[in-house]
């Protein structure tokens, strides 16, 4: 068998693919964060809680009302988005003029409360959510068996991420959004309803987290702690990619997933620190992040 640095090439390829799967989650979550930060200047610490809520909504839909996975893929992001809009309307909008820290504190507090509520009602050990029948089984890639569900996650995540990028960077709506970020007063003077756009942007950002949650539910245990375990890494991804950069967060998310996967082959113990090591190095060389622009 061919080997690279004493590691069979099959194992290496396997880990690369798995890294890509994890990277898709990072990409989708960091994309949501980047959109929210870019448009609202809010560091949304509640993002992990929204991801967790997405997984729980999917579970609740199935358990209480018999809503299956496919419907959940559409309905849950909408529901999470509505929750986000309520939060934006009632709380966040008062903070736009203040320092970043206030938004961070508010969303952090919200995250703790949302997590606490779910933990109180559903406990910490997690709930089962099975993979939809159409996606059970595995594909033989020659070097590994890739469960169909994981492949599906990569596909959905890539499609959603690229579509988001396209809308924001290449369409008229996206142009309005970018203009509203650049100079909200002037944009409003041209007759664009900026507060409405900001509200929908936040709703969309957290809806992405909710979608991530639905995708994660069959792969990981649905547990109140699932968001806080992930969110720190996702923040690191956003920082590395450059705060607010759309393409940056997508590419960084995927590539850091791969870096993490490779670390697991060579030195598994370091696999949850490697992202932060990369972050330190990137910040030393490019303080604005890989794709960020210095202001």
């Amino acid at each position: 068998m061919t080997e690279i640095f004493g590691i069979p090439i099959q194992a290496l390829m396997g880990q690369l693919v798995l890294g890509l799967v994890n990277g898709s989650f990072y990409a989708m979550l960091s994309l949501g964060l980047a959109v929210i930060f870019g448009m609202l200047n809010i560091i949304n610490f509640a993002h992990g809680a929204m991801y967790m809520a997405g997984a729980f909504f999917a579970w609740m839909g199935l358990t209480y009302w018999g809503i299956g996975y496919w419907w959940a893929l559409i309905l849950v992001p909408l529901a999470v988005g509505v929750v986000g809009i309520v939060i934006e309307r009632t709380m966040l909008r008062w903070l736009y003029q203040l320092d970043h820290l206030y938004g961070l504190l508010l969303t952090f507090g919200l995250a703790l409360m949302i997590e606490g509520v779910f933990r109180y009602y559903y406990g910490a050990s997690g709930l089962p959510y099975s993979i939809p029948e159409e996606l059970t089984g595995a594909i033989n890639l020659g070097f590994m068996f890739l469960p169909k569900y994981r492949a599906w996650v990569v596909v959905v995540s890539l499609v959603v991420c690229l579509a988001t990028w396209f809308v924001i960077e290449k369409t008229k709506l996206g142009a309005y959004l970018r203009a509203a970020t650049e100079n909200p007063r002037l944009t409003q003077a041209f007759g664009v309803n900026v507060p409405l756009m900001v509200m929908l942007t936040y709703g969309f950002g957290v809806a992405l987290a909710g979608l991530g949650g639905v995708l994660a539910a069959p792969a990981y245990a649905v547990s109140p702690l699932m968001g806080s375990n992930l969110i720190i890494v996702v923040f690191a991804v956003v920082v590395i990619g450059g705060m607010g950069s759309i393409m940056g967060s997508i590419l960084t998310g995927l590539s850091l997933g791969v870096v993490e996967g490779l670390t697991k082959v060579f030195y598994a113990e370091a696999s949850n620190t490697v992202v932060f090591v990369v972050m330190v190095i990137v910040l030393m060389i490019r303080p604005a992040g890989l794709f960020g622009k210095e202001k």
Binding site: L18, A124, P128, P147, Y149, R150, A221, S223, L225, V265
Partner: protein
């Protein structure tokens, strides 16, 4: 009042004062305070947490129903957040300011080791139920601590032995990279080797993790028959779930070295069927366990884990010892606890050894197949009772300085 003369009243008052004074001399400030220090919010809050507080209150209730005592009993509780510094600060505050006499539960090794030291310094008692490491009764043992429910040796011993005997000779470990995981891996390795099995290797994963597929793939390529899961809580449940997803099971089998009934409940029987695990308690084992567990269920809406049952047993034994010694003095109570065998639904003729280990029978369980399960929480077949003498590390092998050799 006319029937009493002054002299009689004086005598009566002095007698009453004397009684009160003597009672106070026995139990300090006339209240026994039990502090439940546990994981209220983290990964282990289901297997301990508020359930441990419920168990403690049940023990107090049962003690009061059987005994008339002049002193009061109070239960306080707090979240140790699975952090050593938080737990030792809380314990210090409880012992110094709130006059707590005994601390129970302590769900992680780090919190247990930290509180044991404070208890020793303040001369108070620690009754550990949730934590797993054998360090508690070896290198770090002291004379005010009892390790009640289980330890890594006991669970590794039961499960690993059974799996090797079933023909699972070659092993690969998936280990949580901290003191507890390493301790569990080491104990299981010893058992596998001693029973003629072979350990092919191990991969250490960061704690806590959520994606184990990479580590599982490594374990898969090792070709071992058995993948030993030396981790706990959501790490274990996620590993099991993902092993099924990647088609690793049932070609290779999994051995969960430390699993609780809440883990099985969370994963469902379809994923966990036929797995072996070792526990100190199963709610559906006999009439006595069922009766108590139903009472617990009415309050908590979940069946008790061995940790929660252990907290009950430890608290009740402690209260009985306070009554028998007629004192809450630490040394007197500890002596009484060690002298008296533990007899309740949790343990029969349990004995507290000089190293602080409470030895009792353990049970080897096999998870039922979905069609064997007839009612909610009907999860295990009890395959074997591991007698107390074999279940725990022999006293001769103990590294505890209190053991006379």
């Amino acid at each position: 009042m006319k029937n009493f003369n002054k002299k009689q009243i004086c005598v009566a008052i002095f007698a009453a004062l004397g009684l009160a004074a003597s009672a106070q001399a026995q139990v300090s400030d006339n209240v026994v305070r039990i502090g439940v220090l546990t994981d209220m919010s983290g990964a282990y809050s289901d297997l301990a947490g508020t359930g441990s507080v419920v168990a403690t209150n049940l023990a107090v209730e049962d003690f009061k129903a059987k005994n008339k005592v002049s002193w009061a009993i109070e239960v306080v509780s707090a979240d140790h957040q699975n952090k050593g510094d938080i737990s030792s600060n809380k314990a210090r505050e409880w012992f110094d300011r709130d006059k707590v006499d005994v601390v129970t539960d302590l769900v992680t090794t780090s919190t247990a080791l930290a509180v044991m030291k404070v208890a020793k310094e303040k001369n108070k008692i620690a009754l550990i139920s949730g934590a797993a490491s054998t360090r508690i009764t070896n290198e770090d043992c002291n004379d005010v601590t009892v390790h009640w429910t289980y330890d890594t040796y006991a669970v590794a011993n039961g499960t690993a032995k059974a799996v090797v005997k079933q023909g699972g000779k070659s092993w690969y470990f998936l280990t949580a990279d901290y003191a507890f995981g390493q301790s569990l891996e080491k104990d299981a390795t010893d058992v596998v080797n001693a029973n003629g099995g072979k350990v092919l290797g191990a991969v250490r994963h960061p704690f806590p993790g959520s994606d184990f597929s990479s580590f599982l793939l490594k374990a898969q390529s090792s070709g071992a028959q058995v993948i030993g899961l030396a981790n706990a809580g959501t790490d274990t449940t996620n590993s099991i779930k993902q092993a099924a997803e990647f088609g690793i099971t049932p070609k290779q089998s999994l051995a969960g070295l430390l699993m609780f009934i809440t883990d099985i409940h969370s994963l469902g029987l379809a994923t966990t069927q036929t797995m072996y695990l070792t526990e100190a308690f199963y709610w559906d084992r006999n009439e006595e366990t069922r009766a108590w567990s139903k009472r617990f269920f009415d309050k908590q809406r979940k069946m008790p884990t061995m940790v929660q049952a252990g907290v009950y047993s430890a608290t009740l034994h402690y209260l009985n010892a306070v009554k028998a010694a007629n004192s809450d003095d630490t040394q007197k109570v500890m002596a009484m606890m060690k002298k008296t065998p533990v007899n309740d639904f949790f343990a029969k003729n349990g004995v507290i050894r000089e190293d602080g280990r409470m030895v009792h029978d353990m049970y080897l369980m096999q998870v039922k197949k979905p069609d064997e399960s007839k009612y909610p929480w009907d999860y295990y077949n009890v395959r074997q009772t591991i007698p107390a003498a074999e279940a725990f590390q022999p006293l001769a092998a103990s590294k505890c300085s209190l053991v006379k050799k």
